[in-house]
């Protein structure tokens, strides 16, 4: 399966050359989830980020004990990233992510291999980090708008 057309439509990879997109595609591993399946679990270590190719997931952040039932803060669909924070801060998963639709298909990208690629190719590395900052900013803006 040629992943380049799909990756071209993901903001994280905006500006990458066809060759660079091929290099990213070589790191991708498809995973298929079903409604209710857990993609990531809050608090666990994470070594992969995910690009949603098909379907929907809900993002449920961890809550302090006794503060009620955890609720989803956003649903993410095609072209969105899951688990990208671990690429930047190497921290544990900040939220649990559950599949909502049948099927939910993601491409998993290993953090270590992707970081190596960013360090070997500074053009790719710069664009990915800029685009990741933009994606996190977009998510913050969305979060702010849901509260208005």
């Amino acid at each position: 399966m040629d992943l380049v057309p799909l990756l071209q439509k993901v903001e994280l990879f905006d500006g990458l050359t066809p060759h660079e997109l091929q290099e990213v595609a070589a790191l991708c591993a498809e995973q298929v989830y079903h409604p209710g399946d857990t993609v990531t679990r809050q608090g666990e270590p994470g070594s992969e980020m995910y690009v949603i190719c098909e379907g929907w997931v809900e993002v449920i952040p961890g809550m302090p004990p006794g503060s009620g039932t955890p609720r989803a803060v956003v649903n993410l669909g095609r072209g969105q990233l899951i688990g990208e924070m671990t690429l930047v801060d190497y921290g544990p998963r900040s939220a649990s992510v559950r599949a909502l639709s049948e099927p939910t298909i993601v491409q998993a990208i290993d953090r270590e291999r992707f970081t190596e690629l960013c360090e070997q190719d500074y053009h790719l590395g710069y664009l990915v980090m800029r685009n990741m900052a933009a994606d996190l900013s977009f998510k913050l803006r969305h979060r702010n708008l849901t509260g208005r």
């Binding site: 095609r78 909502l100 208005r148």
Partner: protein, 68 residues
């Protein structure tokens, strides 16, 4: 490459977390969109950020389609 519309959807009038999705076409007022397993009607669409490359960044307000 055709433009990609990255859309922030917010549902008015209920405790829905909203959604973010890349779409091939921009949402328009009156359109029905499906988020997860539910349908909604688009009430408003605004530019959220300036375009960058092939990406357009939009914000759309929705209401549940069932309340029409």
């Amino acid at each position: 490459m055709a433009p990609v519309y990255k859309v922030s959807y917010v549902v008015a009038g209920e405790e829905h977390p909203g959604a973010i999705l890349n779409a091939d076409q921009p949402p328009r007022v009156g359109d029905q969109v499906t988020l997860g397993n539910r349908r909604f009607v688009v009430l408003e669409v605004v530019d959220l950020l300036p375009a960058r490359g092939e990406f357009r960044f939009l914000h759309a307000t929705l209401r549940p389609a069932a309340s029409t």
